[in-house]
Symmetry: C3
Subunit: 132 residues, 3 copies
Amino acid sequence: MEFTVQSTATQELLDITAQVEDLVAKSKIKEGLCHVYLPHASAAILVNENHDPELCKDVLDALNKVFPDHAGWRHDRIDDNAGAHIKASVLGPSETIPIRNGKLALGRWQAIMLAELDGPRQRQVVVTLLSQ
Amino acid sequence: MEFTVQSTATQELLDITAQVEDLVAKSKIKEGLCHVYLPHASAAILVNENHDPELCKDVLDALNKVFPDHAGWRHDRIDDNAGAHIKASVLGPSETIPIRNGKLALGRWQAIMLAELDGPRQRQVVVTLLSQ
Amino acid sequence: MEFTVQSTATQELLDITAQVEDLVAKSKIKEGLCHVYLPHASAAILVNENHDPELCKDVLDALNKVFPDHAGWRHDRIDDNAGAHIKASVLGPSETIPIRNGKLALGRWQAIMLAELDGPRQRQVVVTLLSQ
């Protein structure tokens, strides 16, 4: 179970909740776990609020202030994207969400977000569902 | 499998290891995985030491120094808790711990902690156990 | 399923991909999840690039700049390793990687790394495989 996402900016948070929920619905699994994985080292998966899209900008601003791009990193001499790798290492490439009654048990203010940190690129999302 | 936790401060780390271990014991699962999930976007789950409770204050101090509340975030104009969302995005809403011989395979210095970042609130904890 | 790793420095990122891939191959599981867990509170698991080993130094440098050791932490009076615990709390003790066609579905630039933050020490790695 996989799908692709095309990012359109250097950095952005892309809401992939609907695509993941669709795979859960098709699986007919009622109770279990949904694992969402990115096979990429300069992007990440996170879960947070997307009701106020301004918050996504805050999250990226905070990450850039703390782990800035182009701050003299050694790897920038080879690929110029060390900042993206560092942020991706801290956020991690996956999140796991419970499945209850055939649906993702996300909280009211939670969305599954692909954090693009070195775009624009086409990103692959690998979803694994396990039944209880 | 769920339980609720009532936080009593704006920020605190609450040890929920005993409640999770109790659910593992009742399940009779001997080998597998225990997934602990918070359906909330302004709190997080982390695993770390709780033998010295002063360390919990250090962890919160470090997070606040790096990702401060009320630092001009856009979302604060709507809900005034952007700092909590940012910290929760970085920490993540879940942790997964192996089950071995019917018990959580936590290390000697590890505890499962609910990181309240925008309390006091009642928080729901969703536990999913998968047998190997 | 467990193996041990001996770190040789106070801080280093150790690539454990080969050891984990070997356990996946021996398991004969074709489709599922591989959970890699550290039962330690002053080390962490992360997934990122290891093709350019300089990037590992960048990741450690970034973490130390943001969450410095010996910065007046309360826990340092007891054990002098609060900085390691703080970094481990943020990075987390585990990562979960999909298994596809009997192999880890890591991206081309992804490796599973043990982040030693308070070494040198012998560290235990607990691997749990679940079939779909």
